[in-house]
Subunit: 612 residues, 2 copies
C-alpha cells in the first residue's frame, strides 16, 4: 500500500527571501569564515538539496512509516534507506555545514538550517540517522583528542560510521543526573561500561558498518547528579587504531519501541556490558565533563528539533494549500442558498482561507525565528576577535532563542499538522495524503531533547537572567527599536501597535518572574513558564513577520504587477497582518492571566483529582 | 505485540455526581416516560456497563488498532470483535436506550449518554458498529412503515443485523446535496440504486449476518441539491418478508481506507448496483424526504461524536493521572538545587499538576455539557403535552447545544490527548500506553458527521437565530441568572466574576453576527464562526463547572474529612476555579479580536499564499 512517491513540498522562494532579503545572510558571505560562499552558491545548494529531497529521500517517507524491524539482535531499516544513505553522502548534502578540516564545506549555519529543513521535511526518520551521526561527531570534533577526531569524527562526518547520544535511562529521563550507567577504569586507560540506556534514536541500524555511541556514565566514586557524569565513546564494534573493525563491543539491542510516528527511525533499548566486555574511552582526556560536553550536542539537537517541526509544518501547509486549490466542494458563500451554483475550490471558502493563512503565518514566522537564530550563530563567528561585544550579543541571542525554537516550533508543528488535516477533511485522516503521518511524526518533537516544559524552565530560570539579563534586554530592545521605527508605517502601523502591546506584556511578565524568584515563590515559576515561552515566541514571530512585511511592502512597489514576486510580497504582508490581528492580542491576554498567579494547581490535593 | 489488556478508565463517582447531584436526573426518574427507572437502577447499569467495558471490549481496543482486513471482497474485523459483539447483545447494554416497543429498556438519554461514554471509551472502533446499527434503526423506527420497523429496525436493535449511513460521495462530502447516486423506480415500488459511496463507517464487517445501509440517493428527475434526495433501505443481502436472507443485493466493497486511527472500524468505499441488481426501498412512503430523515440520525450522531471525544479524553486524563502518581522523576521544585534530594512522583511537579488540572477541568466540563444536553432531551420528553412551553425550552437547548457538543468536545479531545501524551513524556509516544492511540483515534472526531467548521456555521447561521433567537436567549439567560445568584459567593465570587465577563463577551459577539448578517457581510461569518463556537462552549463549561463547584462546596462541608467525598468535592471546586482563572479570560480576548473583523484571509490573493 505504501508507494515510493514524494509528497514533500518546499517553497524555495520563501526560504531565499528569509535568508537573503530579510535576514541578510549576504552580510557574512564572502568573508571569514565564509570566504568561499556567495549568494549564488547558497541558491545552488538549496536547489540541489531540494532535488535530492524530492527524488531520493522524500519518496521513502511514507514507505519508512512501516517501521524498522529487529531481527537476530540487529535493526533493519526500511527498504531503500541504505541506498538513500549512500546517495546522500555521495552528493555531500550532509557535509555542507561540516568544517573544512573534516572535508566539509563549512557553510554558514543559516544555510545549514535551510538545508536541514529540506532534508528533515522530506523524511524525518531517515534524516535522524545522519543528524545524530553529525551531532555526535561535532562533540568529538570539539572535545576529543586529535586521535579521536581522526579515528571517529572523520568517519562519522563521512557517513561511514553512525552515531548516537545515549543519555536516557529508565529512571533518568528529564532527570539526566539520575543516570546509573557505570564506568570502571581499566589499566590501559579505557573504561568498562555497564548499564542500560533507553529511547536511543538510531541506537542500531544497518546503514553503516559501525555506530559510535556517546554514552553518559558515572565513573566509580564520582559525585551524584549531573556533575559526576562523564562522556564516553563506545563503538558498537571495537575499533583498531587504523579504523579497522574488530569484534563485538558487548553493546546489545534489548528491544525497539513501537511508536506513534517516526517509525522509520529506530528507537532502541541498548544494553552496555551485559557480559562485562563493553569498553569505552573518555571524550578528550578529562573525567566528569560529560554534561558540559553533551550539552554541546544537546543545544545543536534542540535547534534541530525546531527545524524538524518547521520542516513538517511547512510541507503540511503546502500540501494543504495544493489540496485546497484543487478540491472542489460546495458553492461560494455568496451563493450559499443556490443549489445550482457552481462548485468552487475550497480555498475560496473563508474558513479554509483563514486556516491556510494561519498556517502560512505560523510556518513563515517560525522559519524566520529559526533562521534568525542560525544567522546569529554566523554573525557571532564572523565577529569573534573582531568585535567581541557584538559577537557576544549574537551568541547571547542564540542562547536565548534556543528554547523558543525548540518548544514553540514543536508545539506549533503538531497544531499546524492538525489544521492541515482539517483542511483535507476525511482525506487528511487517510494515508493517501501525507498530513496524518506528519502529525504523528511531529508529536515526538515536543518531548525529546528536553520536554517543552524543560525548555520553558530553561528560558525563565536560566536564559532570562543569563549575562545579567543582557540577552533578554537586547531582544526586547531590538523589538522596541522596530516598533519605534515603524509605528507610523502608513500600511502596517495598526499591526505594529499590536506588536507594541505584546512587547509590553512580555516585558511585564518577565519582571513578574523576577519578583517571584526574589520572593522565593519558586512554585509559581513552572506554572507560568510554558505560557511565557509561548508569549515570547509569539512576540518574536510577530516582530519577524512584520519585519518581513515592511521589506515586502517596500519591494512590492518596485516589482511589475505581472511578476510572481508581486504576489509573493503581498503574501508576506497579509501573513503579518493576520498574525498581528489574530495572535498578538492573545499575548496580552496571557499576561493578564499570569499576573493573577492562580494557585489552584498547587492547592488541589492529590486525592481530589479523581476517585480512581 | 498488542496484548488484550484493558487500559480504559472511568470515574463512576464523577459520572454519578454530574448525572444525579448536579443535573438532577432524578427529577425525571420514576415518572413518564421513565416509570421503571430509579437512581439505584441508574447506578447499577453504570457499574455493570463499566464491567463489560473493562472486561470485554476494553481489552480489544489496542488489539483492534491493528486494523480490519479486506479479503475476498469482505471485511474481517479484528480478532475478538465478533465474540465481544455477542456478549454485548447478550448483556443488553446496547439496548438500554432502545424504546420498549423494540424490547429495549427505554432509559433516559442522560443515562444513555453515560453508558455510551463507557462503551465508546473502552473501544471507540468496536462501539461504532453497534452505534451505527442503532442510529440507522432509530431512523427506520421513526420514519419507516410498520413492516420496515418489524423487519429491519427490530433486527438492527437486536444486534442481529448491522446498519450504516451512506451519505458521502467522492464529490459530495460537506456538500451532501451534490450526491449523484441514483434511484430508479421499479414496477413493484422498489428502486434500483446505482452509485458509489465513500468513507462509509462499518460499510462492511463480519459481526452480523446482514447489514442494512441507509442510502441517500436522487430519484430520476428529482430536484438538485439536498431537497431532491431520498433515503433508501438497501440491505447487503436481499431479505424476504419473514426476514430470511436471500442472495447478494449487488452492494460491493470497493476498498477500505488506511487511516490514522479508529483502525478497528472499517471505512469502506461501497459500490451500489455495479451490475444493476441493487434494490432498495424508500424509508417510509414519501420521496424526497431523505435529508430530513437523515438529519434525525445525523443529530444523534453528532451528539455521539461529542461522547466519543469525552470518552477518550476522560480515559486519557485518568491514565495520565495514574502515571503521574506512579512515575518518579527529579526532585521537588523546592529541592531543585540538591542532587541528592529524593525523587518525587511527577504529579508533585507544578507543571505536571497544572496539565492534570487542565485535563480534569476540561473533561469534567465537557461531560457536564453533554449530559446537560441529554437531560434536556429527557425533560423535554417528560414535559411534552404536560407543559409544552417548558418542553420546547428544553428541546431548544438540545438544538442549540448540539454543535457545541460535537465540535468543542472533538477539538478538545485531541488537545487533551496531546497533553496526556506530554504528561507521559516519551512513554506516551509508545504503544505501551493507550494515549497515543487515543490521540490518533480522536482526530477523526473533528471531521466526520459534519466538520467542525460546518458545526460552527450551523451554530451561528441557524441555531443562534432559531425560534426567533429564543433558544440562545434562554441559554444566556440561564447563565445570567446563575451569575446574579452566585456573584457574591464567599468562596467562588471572583470566579463567577470571570464568568460574567465571558457572558458579556459571548452576548456581544452574538449581536455582532446579527449585524453582519443584516449588513450582508456574509464572508465575515465563517471567519469568526469557529472561534465563536469555542467562546460559547467555554462559557458553557465555565458555567457548568462553577455550578458543580457551588454544589460541591456546599456538600463538602457536610461530609466527614475522612470520607472520600471530601476530596472529590474539593476537586470539583479546584477544577472550576482553574477554568475560571485560566480559560474564561480568553473568551473575552477572542471577542475583542473578533470585534476588529480582520479581513486579511479574504484579501490575500490565491497566488500570494506560496510560490509553489
Amino acid at each position: 500500500m505504501a508507494q515510493p512517491i514524494n509528497r514533500f513540498k518546499a517553497d524555495l522562494r520563501e526560504i531565499q527571501f528569509v535568508l537573503l532579503e530579510q535576514l541578510r545572510l549576504g552580510d557574512v558571505l564572502g568573508k571569514a569564515p565564509f570566504e568561499d560562499w556567495g549568494e549564488d552558491e547558497v541558491k545552488m545548494v538549496l536547489e540541489e538539496t531540494y532535488r535530492y529531497a524530492r527524488e531520493v529521500s522524500g519518496p521513502l517517507n511514507h514507505v519508512g512509516d512501516r517501521g524498522c524491524r529487529l531481527e537476530g539482535g540487529r535493526v533493519l531499516t526500511p527498504e531503500g534507506f541504505k541506498e538513500a544513505w549512500n546517495k546522500l553522502y555521495e552528493a555531500g548534502w550532509k557535509k555542507i555545514s561540516v568544517p573544512a578540516e573534516f572535508g566539509g564545506q563549512g557553510a554558514p549555519a543559516g544555510l545549514g538550517a535551510a538545508v536541514e529543513e529540506l532534508l528533515s521535511g522530506a523524511n524525518t526518520s531517515f534524516n535522524m540517522y545522519s543528524g545524530l551521526a553529525v551531532g555526535a561527531a561535532e562533540v568529538i570534533a570539539e572535545f576529543g583528542t586529535d586521535r579521536q577526531k581522526a579515528l571517529f569524527a572523520q568517519r562519522m562526518f563521512d557517513g561511514q560510521w553512525g552515531g548516537t547520544m545515549c543519555l536516557t535511562e529508565a529512571q533518568a529521563g528529564s532527570d539526566v543526573g539520575a543516570a546509573t550507567t557505570g564506568a570502571t577504569k581499566n589499566d590501559d586507560g579505557t573504561y568498562n561500561i555497564k548499564g542500560t540506556k533507553v529511547f536511543i534514536s538510531g541506537g542500531d541500524h544497518d546503514l553503516t558498518e559501525n555506530i559510535v555511541h556517546l554514552v553518559l556514565a558515572r565513573i566509580e566514586g564520582a559525585a551524584p547528579g549531573t556533575k559526576g557524569l562523564s562522556l564516553f565513546i563506545v563503538p558498537r564494534l571495537r575499533v583498531g587504531d587504523d579504523g579497522s573493525l574488530g569484534g563485538s563491543n558487548d553493546v546489545e539491542v534489548g528491544s525497539i519501541e513501537h511508536k506513534m510516528g517516526i517509525n522509520g527511525s529506530s528507537t532502541c533499548v541498548l544494553n552496555f556490558g551485559d557480559n562485562d566486555r563493553c569498553v569505552g574511552e573518555l571524550v578528550g582526556a578529562a573525567e566528569h565533563q560529560g554534561i558540559r560536553q553533551m550539552f554541546k550536542m544537546m543545544n545543536v539537537a534542540r535547534i534541530a528539533v525546531g527545524l524538524q517541526g518547521l520542516a513538517l509544518a511547512s510541507s503540511a501547509y503546502l500540501n494543504a494549500l495544493e489540496y485546497a486549490k484543487d478540491r472542489k466542494q460546495g458553492p461560494s458563500v455568496k451563493d450559499w442558498k443556490n443549489p445550482e451554483a457552481p462548485r468552487v475550490p475550497i480555498i475560496q471558502h473563508p474558513n479554509v482561507r483563514q486556516m491556510l493563512l494561519e498556517l502560512k503565518a505560523k510556518v513563515e514566522g517560525i522559519r524566520a525565528l529559526i533562521f534568525k537564530l542560525a544567522i546569529h550563530q554566523d554573525r557571532s563567528r564572523g565577529l569573534a576577535g573582531v568585535d567581541d561585544d557584538k559577537a557576544s550579543y549574537h551568541s547571547g541571542q542564540v542562547d536565548l532563542l534556543t528554547p523558543l525554537v525548540k518548544a514553540y516550533s514543536s508545539d506549533q508543528a503538531f497544531r499546524i499538522c492538525e489544521i492541515a488535516i482539517q483542511v483535507f477533511g476525511g482525506a487528511g485522516y487517510c494515508q493517501d495524503h501525507p498530513v496524518e503521518q506528519y502529525c504523528r511524526d511531529s508529536k515526538i518533537f515536543s518531548i525529546y531533547e528536553g520536554t517543552n516544559s524543560i525548555q520553558a524552565l530553561d528560558l525563565v530560570a536560566r536564559k532570562l537572567g543569563q549575562a545579567g539579563g543582557r540577552n533578554a534586554q537586547a531582544f526586547l530592545g531590538d523589538i522596541a527599536k522596530f516598533v519605534a521605527t515603524h509605528k507610523a508605517h502608513a500600511d502596517l502601523g495598526p499591526a505594529v501597535a499590536n506588536l507594541e502591546k505584546a512587547h509590553e506584556a512580555v516585558a511585564g511578565t518577565a519582571m513578574q518572574f523576577l519578583a517571584w524568584f526574589q520572593a522565593g515563590e519558586m512554585e509559581l515559576v513552572p506554572l507560568a513558564a510554558n505560557r511565557f515561552l509561548e508569549m515570547m515566541s509569539e512576540l518574536a514571530l510577530g516582530w519577524l513577520l512584520l519585519d518581513a512585511a515592511v521589506i515586502a511592502v517596500e519591494r512590492s512597489g518596485k516589482v511589475a504587477a505581472s511578476h510572481p514576486d508581486r504576489a509573493f510580497y503581498e503574501g508576506k504582508r497579509h501573513a503579518a497582518v493576520w498574525f498581528a490581528a489574530n495572535v498578538l492580542p492573545s499575548v496580552v491576554g496571557k499576561a493578564k492571566v499570569l499576573s493573577k498567579a492562580d494557585r489552584s494547581p498547587l492547592q488541589i490535593p492529590d486525592a481530589a483529582f479523581a476517585t480512581v
